[in-house]
Amino acid sequence: MRRTRLLALSSLAMLVVAAGCGGGSSSSSSSGGPATTLDKTPVTIVLWDMWSGREAQPFKDALKRFQVKYPWITIKEEVQPNPPNDTFDPNLVNAINGGNPPDVAMPFGPDYVGQWCAGGLWQDLAPYMKADGMTINDFAPAAITYTNVGGKQCALPSLTDAFGLYYNKDMFAKAGIAGPPKTMDELMADAKKLTVRNPDGTIKVAGFVPLNQWEELGPGDLANAWDAKWFDSSGKPQLATDPGWAAAFMWQRQLIDWYGYDNIVKFFAANTNNEFNPSNAFENGKVAMMFDGEWRTAFIKGDKHPPLNYGTAPFPAASDHPEMYGPARVGGTIVGIPKGAKHPDQAWLLVKFLASDTTYLVQMANSVGNVPTTPASQSSPELSLPPQFDTFLHVWANPKSAFAPPTTPSGNGYANHLDNFEDAWQSGKISDADLHSQLATLDQQISNDLAQGAGP
């Protein structure tokens, strides 16, 4: 009984939407078309998000705009707490299983998209998208890598993060280096040249900190320069067989040894807490180059720090992989409709708005400093981001950019194994000679992990 009613509603919606309404979509402008015959009975939909602090007001303003556009829909926003351990996603699973999910969910990251899409905990958006003439590739080639798992398109991106190289132009000029490094060899050479040591050997200014989890440098980000892939075509982990991984780890080892592990760890410890405050190492001239996300440009603009003449560029690629100069890791906030949502059709309107409404994307990009995810928003004249931001727009648009680590139907918890490996590798617990065998063990662990996830 309920099912047929839902079917009828959605066919009605599809008919109506196909008739050309749906304002603010990326493909067409919102004017013209026959009068909208959306179901306009007043309804309240529930939204879960985590926008708080100074990011709360811009978001609330955007929601008000939505309600002006769709006056019969009232949004009840439940701002979820955001402690260091992710509680948003487990709570969402609880709510779905308990039968009272929100209508729209907006987590800050796609770590659970495997469970959402392949597991069916979020609804498949394909029918809605088709009716509105929207495809995932309207956003960028990389969008599908973190919104679609197991063939199910259950989420849309809403602003995103993109990563690249930040470098201190003044330091480069002083050291006589013409431009940012384009290859990993150049990166190593420049890092060494730009490093300044204290008389006692400790590091005063680091050229480039090669340690895992320095700011945003994640496991796999260095290996990306060699186009190293986590899984082969049959889905087996291949960190031991894909030569890019070993090359990346050896590169890292060389630079760590050059610094001296103790020195670089002390430098790491002294500065790791300052990633998000104005004592940030890069902003204060303590680091010459770093791998970071696009929001750093907004921070640099807003924070108080000594004058910083900086540039951005794509992160260097290995000399034998020039095609990897340009793409990088991307990914960020996603929106979707949980299974069992009481008002999925109205929820879709909000999802579409948050994913593709140009004004929303532009306003949030300006205030929060994230990458606007649609071509329309990127070319909007209202966009007021620093010139260094362009690098990240290109990274997002690059067809080889992707979310990492790759999502699987059981999520991407398996990447913890690489974090642990890096921990041991960096500290020298694993020697050069053992690298290959330890990588093979790592592969085995990841396989076991995924096998257990799939179950006997």
Binding site: P84, D86, Q115, T272, G411, D419, N420, E422, D423, Q445
Partner: protein, 301 residues
């Protein structure tokens, strides 16, 4: 008797027994919180000890189970006795002065009130090997401070210090216990010319044993479920959960990861029940042997 017990019986049956039994059931299933649980018998337990065969392939099993167990045992064996000793000593200090005791007591108690997330973050900053005051102070003394949360050998000791900082609640209990000691016992023994140590050994300590027993059992139960501080300090300083190098991967932390990051709810349930059995056995032993060393009854010995 039954009337007196009835609130607890009702609560147990309605709120506790159901979820407990259900989690036992989950431990024999493959349950990913998405589809219905699927019965797999003892496979979760086999995975735990690395004796599982999946699809004809021997599976290495859980690589971190042993580490999680070892870390948890360490923090209990090292941390709990220190806590008890320190709490008794501090409580005894508080029985001495005549004035201002209320104030001191409140000050000692305050840290245990601090929200665990905030407290953990503060300690991470205090123990920062370069910018934190602890190492700076050690530097003034000419000691090259360790890397604390950035060194696998020193991360757990730092957490032990955090635990000692928060013993306000134990101090309150021991204070209650100390003040409960009948004064005439002390008078009787000093008439015989006993010194301070003998007073402690023959009067104070025996009278404190009920409280010690309590904090011992609760300490073990809580220790096995130690989570917040470990999770926050590991994720704030470095390479994710359990870092550095899995030194902070406690049983409860790993369980949480299995349940809510990996969605291996069946396996997490298996881990939970193994923990339960271990705690139960330990507690039963302590309970049964308690008659030997715990001294109840307010009468003279």
């Amino acid at each position: 008797m039954l009337l007196f017990l009835s609130p607890w019986i009702f609560g147990f049956v309605v709120f506790t027994a159901g979820p407990m039994l259900l989690s036992l059931y989950y431990s024999f299933t493959h349950y990913d919180l998405i589809s219905s649980p699927r019965w797999i018998g003892l496979d979760n337990y086999r995975y735990m000890i690395g004796k599982l065969t999946l699809n004809g392939q021997p599976n290495q099993g859980d690589p971190y189970f042993g580490t999680a167990v070892r870390n948890t045992i360490w923090i209990i064996v090292v941390g709990l006795p220190l806590r008890i000793v320190f709490a008794i000593a501090t409580a005894m200090l508080l029985t001495r002065p005549k004035r201002g005791v209320n104030g001191y007591r409140t000050l000692f108690f305050m840290p245990s009130m601090a929200p665990t997330v905030g407290a953990s973050l503060v300690f991470v900053y205090l123990f920062n090997p370069v910018t934190g005051p602890i190492n700076q102070f050690l530097g003034h003394l000419g000691i090259n401070g360790p890397l604390w949360f950035f060194d696998p050998t020193w991360a757990k000791p730092a957490l032990v210090v955090l635990g000692l900082w928060g013993i306000g609640d134990a101090i309150v209990l021991y204070l209650a216990g100390l003040l409960n000691v009948p004064r005439d016992l002390y008078e009787a023994i000093s008439v015989e010319g006993a010194n301070a140590w003998q007073r402690f050994r023959y009067v104070t300590f025996p009278m404190l044993t009920p409280v010690i027993f309590f904090t011992l059992i609760i300490g073990i139960i809580d220790g096995f479920q130690y989570f917040d501080q470990a999770y926050v300090s590991a994720t704030t300083t470095g390479n994710g959960v359990g870092s550095p190098q899995n030194s902070l991967l406690f049983y409860s932390v790993w369980l949480y990861e299995q349940a809510f990051t990996y969605f291996h709810m069946g396996y997490a349930a298996a881990m939970a029940w193994i923990l339960f059995i271990a705690t139960m056995v330990l507690t039963a032993i302590l309970l049964l042997t308690s008659r030997r060393w715990v001294h109840y009854g307010g009468g003279l010995s």
